[in-house]
Structure formats: structure tokens, C-alpha cells
Symmetry: C2
Subunit: 429 residues, 2 copies
């Protein structure tokens, strides 16, 4: 091979361009010939609606990582930090929560993991081993700690726990029907706003030996009014639902108790050593931008003729998210009302401390009930729309329900509405 | 706050500089006043010796990720790829193995995870649930599958398994003393070259119901002669020990059997959805560079006066790694010989197919025996050197042994040698 050819080859080989995003809503042709046969996947909560927002900030929020950076496991020289967590990441997480006012972080431990899905299992293990100890005085009990969540519950909980086959805990399903014996230990998972139905939730089991874990992935102002800073023992959040960066797999737990935090860190250490530093680095950049935008933009008045930093020109990500979701919900509700056989949950508006005005809940998922058929998938399959069937969210949840992601890109969402509209002329009753 | 101040603030806040690396050997002052009291941490296998290599390639191998990139969970539009693995990453892994000749990847499944530590547990679970099925005809058996590894074994295996408390398998320690009953199932872990002692290994248990998992983290030409491409059912590798990028937490398994691969993918999906895409993206860039360097540089002869791409100017990473480790081992052996009371394992040289010449094993860890004391840590503590004591590597391993990382930065390694030299004048017998 000639040098020139080689050089070209090198450039080609080393040019790892990112080609894998469903990035750009605008490049999709709404009228493409294939659209009629295109299977619209609204089954998973892939938050691609955020792509067009971040597109405008591509340069402001890009990160560059050089070959020799982020090599070491250790984040800094202090032995205490061998755990592999960037102090900048923790600080950015705390700043965003302070700015939004959705969670107390002062004096709390922030523990990062590969998505909140990993942290869910890590927190469960820490809580289960801790309540086994507390309740029995020793760790000798071999009974598995029951884990419950009110139906409809996020389908992942059951599936993840069942595949894990832990001897520490076991999935026992619906919290509404669960009755703990005397002061026996249990763990209740509270997802608020709830996935799939968007409702605000509180614990339902009244037992003395119970501990509660809060999955607050959707407790952000784009989805629901922020009424007060959440202040619970264990709270889970994820970048996926905060800013839309799902590919980074960056989640965090906010933990009150030092012993639980220690157990969780030890597990993270023993399973993954720490989460990917490239991901932490990028999450830090994104979260810092979001915090800056909301900390300063509200009282910034640029003098005439002065350069206005991009930070202050652009809509905040929570405003964007809420605006898009509110538009989508409005359109969906209008169609559902016209069709008549479908129904959606209703939410009362609440005063959002973050937006400083009343806002409506516009959840990340629509929990759609079809009143006239036994199996709502019959309809969605006809319409070539992939959704998640009600029974995945609990054994007593009717298959008349389906969960539909509201977070996809414009193209898919519009096609979904279009196909749903056609239902009015179909035989449904 | 004035606009100018705000702008400065913004720049400061958004400028997430990477300050956490023990990056630059050259900035360390060998004669600093603090050196005498400095605790040298050679306990963990942090591969910071690679920093100065990559420093020279900072610009050639940097990656930039824009705000709107890597947002989606999905890597491309095909449903089959929802698993969250970049095809480019898989291809780069396969290319490097082809170029090095250390593992067969044709027709194999490559599964990425958050470091090989996560994949170790994921693979164990897949193998354990599979052998339980195979052996009993059904999955009804509740017996835990024994997992063993010949002593001295990598201390992580026992610790990770014990904290996990799986009902699928249990740690049963030393493979040398393990006797499986009739054709009962078991899993043997074979680490080759072995951590801590650098020896090449084969399975030691002779049982009919057994399966073997190979941890080949150190089967790279910088550590040991590559004698043939490894071709086993389940093999684990990690970027940490391949190129030194430990902070990325990128590991991969190479799996022969489709069912095992499916089980592993499902678990990854259910615990983390996929590994961090920023990490995959960067690993791809680094691995592609390494493959290019070795694929082309050997037969490249630049014409006079022509620009020579950096790719061809620079020593390959495996040459660099082997050169540095060989120098360190030589120095260490010289001191150990002089002192007399310590000993190191000996390795016969082997023909390395990759380097196309005989090379010696220069393992990532030195497995040091102190012949005159019961507890080798007595000595290392006096010398303010943190190492890992022999008993961590198995219950019958003597505390006369310590494991010392050979992969740290120059400064720490030189200080280690200096302090070790002082032993000659100390009372040891």
C-alpha cells in the first residue's frame, strides 16, 4: 500500500464518527413512502425528544477527552476516593437538585452507577442486608426480604429481580395486597411520578419493619409540578430522564444513612469498580450547563449591543421538555376524546415551585385504556405501533391498558397520532 | 452580578477540566521533600504506567462528543440492537484480537460490560443457570453451583461472589482441593496469565459436569508471550489491561455458545441496559488506533521528505508496555537478588507469535515471597509501601507472599525500588 493510500486508510479507520443516533427529528421525512409500513416503537422510554434541544447546544456542551486522560481507576490521589466517583459529578448533581428544588442533597451521599437500573439492585441489596441485620439482631436469618410495589408498577423491577436470583430478597408483587407479618421486614418501592401511569405516589403498606425506596426518575419539572424537595432515605434519579442522555447510562442514588451508602459503594466497587469516567465527565458538563442556565438566566438582562452568551439565548431544558410534552398530551387528549373508546388518566394541575406557576402533569408515558376490547394490543398491532401491554405492570393489571412512550422523536409521535386518528373509522365496539 | 462577571462565571462553571489523573510521570519530582513519608500504593493494579505513552498521542486519539450525540439507548434503528452495544466497538475489539492473535473471535459473540469485573458475574450467572438446566434436565434443582479457582486466585472473585449472595452459585475456593461428586456441575475459573503470580494456567479439576471460564485480562504481548489464539467457551478481557484505560470501565466477553451469549446479554440488559456509550465510543477510537498501528506500521517505509503520520512515528503500545515492564522486572530482580531474603517467580522465555521473537513473561504484578518472616506486610509497612497480602488470594496462601503492582507510574515504582534497596541494611532474619 502506498503512503498516501495508507494515510487515507488511517484517517478513515480512525475516524469513529457517531452514526448511531436517532438524532435529528428534522431529517425525517414525514411523507416518506415507507411510513405506512413503519413499525413505530413506543414500547420503551427512549427519550429521543431531547435530541433536537441538545442539537442547538452541540458546541457549547461538547466534551473532548484526550488519549491520556481518565486512565486511572482513581479519581484523585486520596485513598478515600478510590471508589471511582468524580467529585465534579457529585457537585453537579447536587447543584441541579438545588436549582430545581426537587430533592434534598445537603448532608446526603450521592452514589453514581451505570444507570438507575443498576442502582435499583444495588440499593435493594444494601437495604435488604441492613433490615435482615436490624430485625434479627444478627445476620443469621436466611429468609428473603419481600420486595413490593403497588400495581401498576414499572415492569423492570420484577424482571430484574427475578433474573438476579438473590438469596437476600425476593419479588412479591403488588404492595396493595401485601400484608407483612407482625414487624417482619420488607421493602416497598415507591415510584413517583409512577411509571406507567404518571400518578404521584406514597407508600401503601403499613408495616413496622418496612423500609421504602423511592424511584424518582420522573420527579422533574418537565413531567410534573415540583411541590417540595423530596427528602427520603434512598432516592434514585437518572440522567436519561433528567436531560435525555440515556446512552450515557448515568444514574445516581441520594442516600441519607451512612451505613447504607457504605454498603452501596462497596457493591459498586465490587461489581464495576466505578461507573465509566467518560460518562461521568460528560454528565458533569451537561448538568453544569443546566444548573448555570437556570441559576443565572432569569435575572440576566443583556446591555445593548453586547454579545449574549448562548446560555442565555436558549430555552431551558425543563421548559423545553414541559412545552413539548404538554403539546403532545394536548394533541393526544383531543384525539382520544374524539375516538371515544380510549381513555387517559386525568391529573389536577399543581403549583410548581420551580416554574413558579401552576403546571399540569404531562407524564413521560401515556397509560391508555381501551374500554371496548379485552386486549388493547389487538388494536396497536393493527396500527403497527409497539407499546407495552398492561399485564407487564402487574398480574392483576388488565390487558385493556397499554403504556405508550411520549418521549420519542416528533416523526414517530406524529405518525402515532395519525394512525390513532384512523381508529375513529374502525370497528372497535 | 454584571454580565461580564456572569460570563466569566459561566466559562468557569462550564469548564469541566479533567484534573483527576495521575497523569504525568514527568511532573513528579523524584526528589520532593515529601517522598520519604509518601505512602506508595502498589496494592491495586492501576495501570498508570500507560499515561506517558498516551500523552504523546493526546491529539491523535482524542474524542469529541457533542451535546446531542449518544442520546438514545438504542445504537441503531434495528430492534435487535436495542441491547445498547456499538457495532463499531465490537468490530474494533475483533480487529485488535486478530492483529495480536491472542483470541479467536470469528463466529463468536462479543459482549461489552462495565469492566470485566461486571462480566465475570454476568458470565457466572449465565453458566450456572445453564449447567443447572443441563445436568438436571430441568431448572428445578435448588443446589448452588460450586465455583472454584486454583490458589493463589485473584482476590476479587471470592469477594465479589460473597457479597452478591446469589442462589445460583457459591464460592468454594481452591480448585486444587475441590472434588466434584460424580458428574455434578461446577464452574472453574482459569486466570491465565494468573493474577497474582503471572503463571500460565490450565484447568485443574477433572470432573465431567464442569464448565470453565477463562479470565484472560493479562493475555496480551506486553505481559506474556502470545503462543496461540485462545479459543475457549467464555473468555474475559478488559481495556484496563489492554491499553491502560482503566477509568473507562470497558470490558468484553468473547462467547462461543449462542445460548450463553443470549443469557449474558439479557442480564446486561436487565441490570444496566448497556454499557456507557461515551466509554464504548472512546474505547473504539483507542482500539482502532492500536490495530492500525500494528497492521500497517511494520511494512511502512516513508519516502524522503514526506510527512510521516504519527501512527508510524510512534512505538506500538504493546512494545511500550513490554519494554517498560521488562526494565522494571530487571531492576526489581537485581535488587531482590542482592537482598537475598526475598524471592520472585521465574518464567521461561517463550516464542511470541505477535512480536515474532522469544520474549520473557513480565507480569503486571510481582508475587514476592519473603522467606524470613511470617508476615510480609511487617516489612512493607515499615517501608510505607501498600501491597496486597498473600492470604487475600486463598485461605492456604502464606502471608509470606505479597502482590505488588508493576503497572504504576515511574515515580512510585522508582521510590519502591529505592525503599526496597534499603532492606539490605535492615534486620530481617
Amino acid at each position: 500500500m502506498e503512503a498516501k493510500e495508507l494515510l487515507l486508510h488511517e484517517v478513515k479507520q480512525n475516524d469513529v464518527t457517531i452514526i448511531n443516533d436517532k438524532n435529528n427529528d428534522t431529517t425525517n421525512d414525514l411523507n416518506s413512502a415507507n411510513d405506512d409500513n413503519h413499525l413505530i416503537n413506543l414500547e420503551k422510554g427512549d427519550p429521543t425528544m431531547f435530541c433536537s434541544y441538545w442539537k442547538k447546544l452541540d458546541n457549547e456542551c461538547s466534551v473532548t477527552i484526550k488519549a491520556s486522560e481518565l486512565i486511572s481507576y482513581t479519581i484523585n490521589h486520596k485513598e478515600a476516593d478510590f471508589f471511582g466517583q468524580m467529585p465534579e459529578f457529585v457537585e453537579a448533581v447536587k447543584r441541579v437538585h438545588r436549582v430545581v428544588g426537587n430533592a434534598v442533597t445537603e448532608g446526603r451521599y450521592v452514589i453514581g452507577g451505570t444507570g438507575s437500573s443498576q442502582l435499583f439492585l444495588v440499593a435493594l441489596r444494601a437495604l435488604a442486608s441492613s433490615v435482615r441485620k436490624t430485625t434479627n439482631g444478627s445476620n443469621s436469618s436466611n429468609k428473603r426480604i419481600p420486595v413490593v410495589c403497588a400495581e401498576p408498577y414499572y415492569s423492570f423491577y420484577k424482571e430484574a429481580m427475578e433474573q438476579e436470583k438473590s438469596e437476600l430478597y425476593e419479588w412479591q408483587g403488588d404492595a396493595n395486597t401485601f400484608k407483612p407479618e407482625s414487624n417482619n421486614p420488607y421493602i416497598e418501592v415507591v415510584t413517583s411520578p409512577n411509571n406507567p401511569d404518571g400518578r404521584s405516589r406514597k407508600p401503601v403498606v403499613k408495616g413496622e419493619g418496612g423500609v421504602v425506596m423511592y424511584d424518582l426518575a420522573y420527579y422533574w419539572p418537565q413531567y410534573t409540578p415540583i411541590t417540595s424537595p423530596a427528602d427520603y432515605d434512598v432516592m434514585l434519579f437518572t440522567l436519561s430522564k433528567t436531560t435525555g442522555h440515556a446512552g450515557s447510562r448515568m444514574g445516581w442514588a441520594i442516600v441519607k444513612d451512612q451505613e447504607i451508602a457504605k454498603k452501596m459503594k462497596k457493591q459498586i466497587w465490587l461489581t464495576i469498580i466505578g461507573s465509566c469516567q467518560e460518562g461521568q465527565f460528560r454528565a458533569t458538563k451537561i448538568l453544569q450547563f443546566v444548573a448555570d442556565r437556570y441559576e443565572h438566566a432569569s435575572y440576566y438582562k443583556p446591555p445593548n449591543n453586547m454579545y449574549v452568551p448562548k446560555l442565555f439565548q436558549i430555552e431551558g431544558v425543563f421548559d423545553y421538555g414541559h412545552r413539548i410534552l404538554a403539546q403532545r398530551w394536548e394533541k393526544l387528549r383531543a384525539i382520544v376524546q374524539r375516538i371515544g373508546v380510549l381513555s387517559l388518566p386525568d391529573f389536577s394541575p399543581g403549583f410548581c415551585n420551580f416554574f413558579q406557576k401552576p403546571t399540569s402533569s404531562v407524564p413521560a408515558f401515556a397509560w391508555v385504556e381501551c374500554k371496548t376490547v379485552e386486549d388493547a394490543e389487538q388494536i396497536t398491532k393493527k396500527l403497527k405501533i409497539k407499546t407495552r401491554i398492561g399485564s407487564r405492570f402487574g398480574s392483576s393489571v388488565s390487558e385493556r391498558f397499554i403504556r405508550v412512550s411520549m418521549m420519542g422523536d416528533d416523526h414517530d409521535f406524529n405518525l402515532f397520532l395519525e394512525r390513532l386518528s384512523s381508529l375513529a373509522t374502525m370497528e372497535l365496539s
